[in-house]
């Protein structure tokens, strides 16, 4: 895959079709494992191409871990899983410097975060201190220990999961941490036919998943660079701006979407366009991704005791805002 001229927003049809082909391969590869979840797969691929991280909020046992693992396997990436618990320490995530007797100096021992696809399972069970250990690596792709920065894998993507029902003994993610996630997704139960297919399989755990990589890591990195050059016309940018602005003046929200949120939406719609085989963004991309990209960044003025209910209200209000903002014609 050849990258476009950095001075131009236009790239050739060949580049677009090559990118689409690569993404199609990943999608088809994952489909073999994740049944009946095409929308979620597309959103995950969008997040991957946009270089973002995903927060999956759903009940246990709906395939969150499998999803992350399948993605990692499809791309020949290093997969790592961290089970977040209340006694987990930041060094358990990032790594620690230990004294090596043989060479008589401290040596940095990399933590599980040094992978390409990191699954932070039940992230809200860890203490805020441990949660915040992910801030730097999610933002910059680096871990700094003892003043020394260590780059993690590239591409790098965090899949964080949390249970939206069982909140006992958990530490809700702070807004700064939520803002780092490009999207919040819901898996949901599969359709009956898909679930039947799952039941028929003899596989017992994700370790037993046998998948061959269909793209290389460098392909993914090129896709990410290509997505950044997808053209966005002024009126579409204005559409994004108007949606973001409307969340800031909405009385039901405590605060509107941040600038980072607006940028995240822009990157996400660029990635989606590439997924759709286009080198330009259309307003439908914005409307399709506004909820998954923006909803987790918003909180209600009047707190609701039930987390599920709060999410439902936020999404409903956000959908009302999106419907009220006219798309460019």
């Amino acid at each position: 895959m050849v990258l476009p001229d950095p001075m131009s927003d236009f790239f050739s049809a060949t580049q677009v079709s090559a990118a689409r082909e690569s993404l199609h391969k990943i999608r088809e590869s994952m489909r073999g494992t994740i049944k009946g979840k095409d929308t979620v797969l597309d959103q995950v691929l969008t997040a991957l191409v946009a270089g973002g991280h995903v927060l999956i909020e759903d009940l246990p046992g709906v395939g969150k871990t499998t999803l992350a693992y399948a993605l990692a396997r499809s791309m020949d990436c290093v997969f790592s899983r961290i089970q977040f618990t209340s006694d987990l320490l930041p060094s358990d995530v990032t790594g620690v410097a230990i004294y090596d007797e043989t060479i008589k100096e401290f040596v940095f021992k990399k933590g599980p975060v040094f992978a390409n696809i990191v699954l932070a399972d039940e992230i809200n069970r860890a203490t805020p201190k441990t949660q915040s250990s992910l801030l730097e690596v999610m933002d910059r792709g680096k871990v700094t220990v003892d003043g020394q920065a260590h780059a993690v894998g590239a591409p790098f993507m965090v899949f964080a999961t949390q249970n939206p029902v069982d909140y006992e003994g958990t530490f809700p993610l702070p807004e700064s941490q939520m803002d780092r996630f490009l999207m919040r997704l819901h898996m949901g139960y599969p359709q009956a036919a898909d679930e039947l297919e799952i039941l028929r399989s003899t596989r017992t755990g994700y370790d037993a998943i046998a998948m061959e990589p269909v793209v290389t890591r460098s392909d993914i990195l090129q896709l990410q660079q290509l997505a950044a050059h997808v053209f966005i016309e002024d009126t579409v940018l204005d559409y994004i701006l108007r949606i973001v602005g409307a969340t800031r003046t909405e009385a039901d929200f405590r605060a509107g979407v941040s600038v980072r949120g607006g940028l995240a939406l822009k990157h996400a719609v660029q990635a989606r366009s590439l997924l759709e085989g286009r080198d330009f963004v259309v307003p439908e991309d914005v409307a399709a991704l506004a909820v998954p990209v923006l909803a987790h960044r918003l909180t209600l003025v009047r707190p609701v005791s039930d987390g599920m209910e709060e999410r439902r209200l936020v999404v409903a209000t956000l959908k009302r805002i999106i419907a009220a903002v006219p798309p460019p014609v």
Binding site: F10, F231, I232, E233, R278, D279, F280, V281
Partner: protein
């Protein structure tokens, strides 16, 4: 990405609001100069302060909180004291308005304060405009409207940008005006500016049309307040004139009045606009004696038409005079008049004997009046004076024949009424030299003897005395009377000093009275210039003049005599001189004349626009339209005839070749336009588009996408499969990078073709079932 047009930031919008607010404040405050309101202190404070704070807004932040706390109570207190002390509500309110305006201009403003400022400024501008009815009002209201609309737009944009949150952006006081105006110029979309300008002009034109079309109402001039706030007289045309006062008026170059003449060819060579007759010599000047005042009946009831004692009823020429405020309550007239029309009911005092007319008080705004049958020859017959002072046998056949051949019942009534009043008071003093000492009287008699004695009559003596005076003195506006004892005029006559018109006229009066000829001083204006811009005569204050009228026993009339060098000592009597025509007048073509022309237009078409003018305008427009339609029809008929004749002519080779070439050129032109011209034109405009929003290709693609969407809705499918490719290409034109575009014209042509095909298919399907 193309560079979008920059937008003004919240801080820049705030700075623009500050600037516009200051501008509106200063300009509206200055309109008070047009009114006689004692607000010099407020204006003296506002004039330097507001521009200073406008240019350096950081100082408005530096004002202490105590200033803001005390400002309102202080302003209210000053207003209360002003009202209590002066007992004049409107001037006090204007002063209050100025204080509030000044405060608003120097204190930081939010949206509410900006709106307050506009309202305060509007109050002053409207009050000034309504009560002065001056052309300057047009400029003021246009400027105010533009600036206020600009400010409101800036306020709206600022609010929208702030998302409805009140308050000013921090740091807006640090302003660089050149940078702001550069940004403003960069942010301004010329098309939007042109559209706004066109809309503004449209509103103005619509207002003008409404003004012309609305029925006329007669509004009486009964505003009691206008006297309180408009400029009072700045001239010396009153019943008591001291030497030098007329000369002082002549130092002013402003317009005194403009005159529309129905028949410019009938304009006389000598224009003497009489305003006041003064008979009593005081030693320091002339004044109207009690006896003469008694001959001047008080103003009659209000009427739009007033009859006069003029004799030239057969004269069809009418004179419409637009009389400026601040000159005098006496109306400039050249002599007696037949009828005098006002635009609205107006009380008028007039003396048939003196041929002067006056309003009850000095007009506060421009007064327009039309005069019919005005005497312009400088000879004023006076039956009353002749009967009582010159012709003892008034009832003699000679006198009856001499005077009654032109008398009308109205004149007779006036004469009787005047006679009744005269008998109650003193007599006019046309022969008295009350202010002259005995020694000076001797000198006067000696000079009369030197001139040649009383002579055959008043005009004869006037000619000789005028020549004698002009031989001894030259004319100068900067004249001084020699120091010494005795009468001023006698001292000046005894010297060789140059003099102004009052000294010449006063000398003539004293000499003629010494010789036994009744004489009186007349003040008014002499001359005027022809303004080709407006097609009217402009008379300026610099034309202010004083001259005499001497009694002509032989004809029983007062004859004008102007002893000032440059003037005709006695009026010309030849027909040519009497009616020289406007074309022989001095022409005024400078910028001031053009401004005067605009002013006359304002008076003619706006202020004095009555129902008659309205009907004339409608008839004129109708006639013009009819003429245009007839002309157009004739032109078309001519062209069709020519074409038919041309077709009937024999067709030889050159004609066939030429016609085919012309047809080919037209077809070729259409083909070129449709094939590539239109797309090139669109591409050129697209490259020049300032933003994507204004890109004609993107807009056209948007229109075609909307049509596709309608078609999709009609078929019930998301996008008809036949149109998927076309939609993809249109989407690329609409939202894609320019480099990836297919030729726009081809894509649009394809969309058109596809939609047409789909439409045809849709129509044939039901038939096939």
């Amino acid at each position: 990405m193309e560079n979008p047009r920059p937008q003004l930031s919240q801080i820049e919008l705030q700075q623009l609001r500050w600037f516009l607010g200051g501008l509106i404040g200063v300009v509206s405050a200055w309109t008070v100069f047009y009114m006689e309101v004692d607000a010099l202190l407020a204006l003296a404070v506002i004039t330097p302060t507001v521009p200073f704070f406008t240019l350096f807004p950081r100082f408005s932040r530096a004002l202490p909180a105590l200033f803001h706390r005390l400002a309102f109570p202080l302003i209210v207190t000053v207003f209360a004291l002003d009202l209590w002390g002066n007992r004049e509500p409107l001037p006090a309110m204007i002063r209050l308005d100025l204080m509030l305006l000044g405060y608003r201009c120097i204190s930081p403003r939010g949206r509410r304060e900006d709106l307050q400022l506009i309202l305060l400024a509007l109050f002053v501008v409207v009050v000034t405009g309504v009560f002065t009815v001056s052309p300057a009002f047009v400029v003021q209201i246009l400027f105010f409207t533009g600036a206020a609309l600009g400010l409101l737009l800036a306020v709206t944009l600022s609010d929208a940008r702030a998302g409805g949150v009140a308050g000013n952006a921090a740091g807006w006081e640090q302003v660089s005006w050149p940078d702001l105006f550069r940004r403003l110029r960069a942010a301004a979309d010329l098309r939007v500016v042109a559209l706004a300008g066109a809309l503004f002009c449209g509103v103005v034109v619509l207002s003008a049309l409404l003004f012309l079309a609305l029925p006329r109402f007669e509004i009486t001039n009964d505003f009691f307040i206008d006297r309180l706030i408009t400029k009072s007289s700045r001239t010396g045309f009153s019943e008591n004139i001291l030497f030098g006062e007329v000369n002082k008026i002549a130092q002013d170059g402003g317009m005194a009045f403009a005159v529309d003449v129905k028949d410019p060819a009938a304009v006389p060579a000598e224009l003497y606009w009489r305003m006041l007759v003064l008979d009593e010599y005081s030693g320091q000047g002339f004044r109207t004696s009690a006896g003469l005042r008694n001959s001047f009946p008080p103003a009659r009831d209000k009427a739009m038409v007033h009859g006069g004692a003029g004799r030239a009823r057969e004269d069809r020429t009418t004179w419409t005079i637009y009389y400026q405020p601040g000159v005098s309550r006496y109306l400039p007239l050249m002599g007696g008049f037949g009828r005098l029309h006002f635009g609205e009911p107006q009380a008028l005092a007039q003396s048939p004997a003196l041929r002067i007319a006056a309003l009850p008080s000095e007009p506060a705004k421009m007064v327009g009046y039309r005069v019919e049958g005005m005497d312009t020859d400088g000879v004023l017959r006076d039956r009353l004076f002749a009967r009582e002072h010159i012709l003892p046998a008034w009832d003699s056949p000679r006198a009856r024949i001499f005077f009654n051949h032109e008398a009308t019942p109205r004149e007779a009534d006036d004469a009787e009424a005047a006679t009744g009043r005269e008998s109650e008071g003193k007599e006019p003093t046309f022969l008295e030299l009350g202010g002259v000492a005995a020694g000076d009287l001797d000198k006067l008699r000696a000079w009369v003897a030197e001139i040649g004695g009383p002579g055959a009559g008043g005009p004869d003596f006037a000619r000789r005395a005028g020549a004698w005076l002009q031989a001894r003195h030259t004319y100068s506006l900067d004249s001084t009377t020699p120091a010494g004892e005795g009468d001023v005029i006698v001292r000046w006559m005894g010297s060789r000093e140059p003099g102004h018109c009052e000294l010449f006229a006063g000398s003539m009066v004293l000499l003629a009275r010494s010789a036994g000829h009744p004489t009186r001083l007349v003040t008014g204006f002499k001359g005027g210039v022809w303004n080709p811009t407006s097609g009217s005569i402009t008379v300026r204050n610099s034309d202010a003049h004083a001259w005499c009228e001497i009694w002509d026993e032989a004809n029983g009339s007062w004859v004008r005599t102007d002893a000032t060098p440059g003037g005709r000592i006695t009026p010309a009597t030849t027909a040519g001189a009497l009616s020289a025509g406007a074309s022989r007048m001095e022409q005024d073509t400078g910028w001031s004349a053009r401004l005067d022309g605009l002013r006359v237009f304002w008076y003619r078409r706006i202020v004095s626009f009555d129902q008659t003018s309205q009907l004339e305008l409608v008839r004129g427009t109708k006639d013009q339209l009819r003429t245009m339609l007839v002309g157009l029809r004739e032109l078309l008929e001519t062209r069709v005839r020519e074409l038919v004749e041309w077709l009937r002519q024999p067709w030889d080779f050159p004609r066939i070749f030429g016609s085919a070439a012309a047809l080919g050129a037209i077809v070729g032109g259409v083909w070129f336009w449709r094939s590539s011209g239109r797309s090139r034109w669109m591409a050129w405009r697209s490259r020049r588009a300032a933003s994507h929003r204004h890109d004609p290709v993107r807009r056209e693609a948007s229109r075609w996408l909307a049509r596709l969407e309608r078609r999709a809705r009609a078929t019930g499918a998301a996008t008809p499969p036949e149109l998927a490719g076309t939609r993809e290409r249109l989407l690329r034109l609409r939202y894609g990078a320019r480099e990836g575009w297919a030729p726009p014209a081809e894509v649009f042509a394809e969309a058109k073709r596809r939609l047409r095909e789909l439409g045809r298919a849709g129509r044939t399907k039901p038939a096939g079932r």
